[in-house]
Each structure stands twice: as structure tokens, then as C-alpha cells.
Symmetry: C2
Subunit: 104 residues, 2 copies
Amino acid sequence: MTRQKPGPCPIVRSFDIIGSKWRLVVLNDLQESEKRFNELKRSTEASSRTLSRVLKELVSEGLVEKRVEEESPIATYYSLTSKGRELCPVFQEVNNWAEKWLEK
Amino acid sequence: MTRQKPGPCPIVRSFDIIGSKWRLVVLNDLQESEKRFNELKRSTEASSRTLSRVLKELVSEGLVEKRVEEESPIATYYSLTSKGRELCPVFQEVNNWAEKWLEK
């Protein structure tokens, strides 16, 4: 397919990256701190399958990084990269909006 | 299904509402001004089917309102409600992030 006009503007391209409920849930959750897979599973209430897929996507987008602790028992930790951490102001604004407009 | 703990916090509930690429695209587009269906179709590049569905969802979430101009030819306009307009700071922050992190 050829495009005759330039690609979508940055904000629209960013919706391809963050315009998904589970990606937002996981990114929001990792703002607190680095977390293990099972911690994320508990805190996000995502299924293992969904969480695995979403973490893989976020790693491939460069928003999350994976660190494997080789000691026994082997543990895998996930944390935000700078690119992911700098979404923090977005989450703050979503939170302000949610506090005002969504019933508690 | 019974829940033994309170529902998710406001920010997580807001991801159910705005955590979708097309909803974000349409909300972002309506920040400029009220638009007709066909204008939105051109500017968002969504299919008619997707755009109809997304507008219906956004109206039902109270983020967008629909106004029908009864003169001939009948025209339907869509605009943001206060609840939708107050997402503006979220889009500004996404835009700041996108300008920094996504290649032009």
C-alpha cells in the first residue's frame, strides 16, 4: 500500500503504543517500583497469558525492561525504561480526570 | 461472580473508558472543534463501521454529544462534553511524550 501523505502525527502513533487497557494497567502499575511477574499478576488481576503477552509487547516497544536474577530461585523482574517512566505525567492527568469524573 | 475486595481504583477504571486506540484518536480529534461524521472519517482515517461504533461508545460514556441539525440536508455533529473536554491535559502530556520519544 502506498501512502500519498505523511504518516500520522506523533500523538496518533502513540495511541498505537498506549491505546490498550492492559498496557496502561501494567505501565501504571510499574510506576511504583520494579515488580516480579507474580506481583504484577496479583496487582493487575490480568491472566498469566494476557500479562505475558503485554509484557512482551511493552519490552519490544522499549517501555519496559526485564531483568533476570540468576540466583536460586531464579526470579524475573520488570521495570520501566526512561521512555516508560516519562509517561508518568500522562498517568497523573488520567488520575486527576478519573478522580473528578468517575464515581468512587 | 462475587468480589471480596473493592472495585479497581479510578485510574484503572478510566483505562476501560479511554484504553482503546480509536477512542483516543476520536477524542483527540474532537478537541479542535465540533465535527461532522464525514469530517471525522477523513481526519481519523477510521472506517465508517469503526467510527460509528466508537462514537456510540463515547456518547454512551458521556464523553461526546451528538447534535442533529434538522435543516436540509440533515447534518449530524459530534462534540466533546465537559467530561470529554477535560481529558485535554492527558492528550497534551501524551503529545509531549510522543514528541520526545517517537521518531518523526
